[in-house]
Subunit: 142 residues, 2 copies
DNA sequence: GCAGATAATGATATAAATTATCAATATGGC
DNA sequence: GCCATATTGATAATTTATATCATTATCTGC
């Protein structure tokens, strides 16, 4: 069991939620896949490992994880929400407006800005998402 | 007709798309409302001004505006996509993970990072979105 | 370890949001 | 104004998301 999985599980129990087998499998699948899945995509993968887990439980678990700030829904081409992991505190993308290509990157200087905002609005920051949008190498040449 | 509306219209024609009356009304409504609308919300408002504009046209226009980088779909509580205006080059949010409150802010230091990424990946940046997620003043006290 | 209170589940039904089709129409270039 | 064709909108189909509720599993306290 990975550290990340342990940490996510702990966040659940720390907030008074039960660590059910369904939730365990869902978390494990989510971590293994590295996120970027839709609810139904995830439900399908989860059912490979645990066929008894219902689709509703996946939807509800995703909602719960969102509320706890562990994941975040974003658009990724299709009409369905895709969920990215937020437990590391940040997530960064370059996204092509034409073909939908997603490039991940790490560096970012949002901490200072966050600090200031946190005070101004008395807002407790748990994570951030930074996305640059534009045209990828390939799509610029079309 | 606002400068913003003119600029958006120009982007359409500059990219070889027709400036139809439907698109004009859609853009105008979008700008007037300041974005943050779902496709169906927008369709309803559009039909107040122009009853003949069909829902499909709104969906398709929103897709087109996304592809041109003028707007961007994000999640805002409900299952439907909400569209934010991106033509100013950036958009910044503080979002409460519990109640969904959205606070807008202006300052940000993403330009330098963007510059570096742009070169590294040969990616033409058109805009960026920065979101901080956490708990608002009110929800921290629950 | 067991019982009880209750959070959580999952089968089912319903609603909401998105996408596909295609004949009719409006648009911009000439 | 004419024409080629991009765009539209009515309709239908599909995909996503939400609501219900009886049943089950989890945790707490003993
Ligand atoms: Mn990612
Ligand atoms: Mn906004
Ligand atoms: Zn691309
Ligand atoms: Zn809140």
């Amino acid at each position: 069991m990975s550290d990340q999985l342990l940490s996510l599980s702990k966040t659940l129990t720390d907030n008074g939620h039960r660590l059910t087998t369904a939730r365990q499998v869902i978390l494990e699948t989510l971590v293994t896949c590295g996120g970027h899945l839709s609810a139904d995509d995830l439900a399908a993968k989860v059912r490979d490992a645990a066929p008894r887990v219902g689709r509703m439980t996946v939807y509800r678990t995703l909602d719960l994880l969102c509320e706890l700030g562990m994941i975040r829904p974003i658009y990724q081409g299709t009409g369905a929400a895709h969920y990215i992991l937020m437990d590391e505190g940040s997530h960064h993308h370059l996204i092509c407006n034409r073909c939908g290509l997603v490039i991940e990157f790490d560096e970012c200087m949002s901490s200072e800005v966050g600090q200031a905002l946190s005070q101004r609005f008395n807002f407790k920051i748990q994570s951030h998402l930074l996305e640059f949008h534009g045209l990828c190498d390939h799509c610029q040449k079309l």
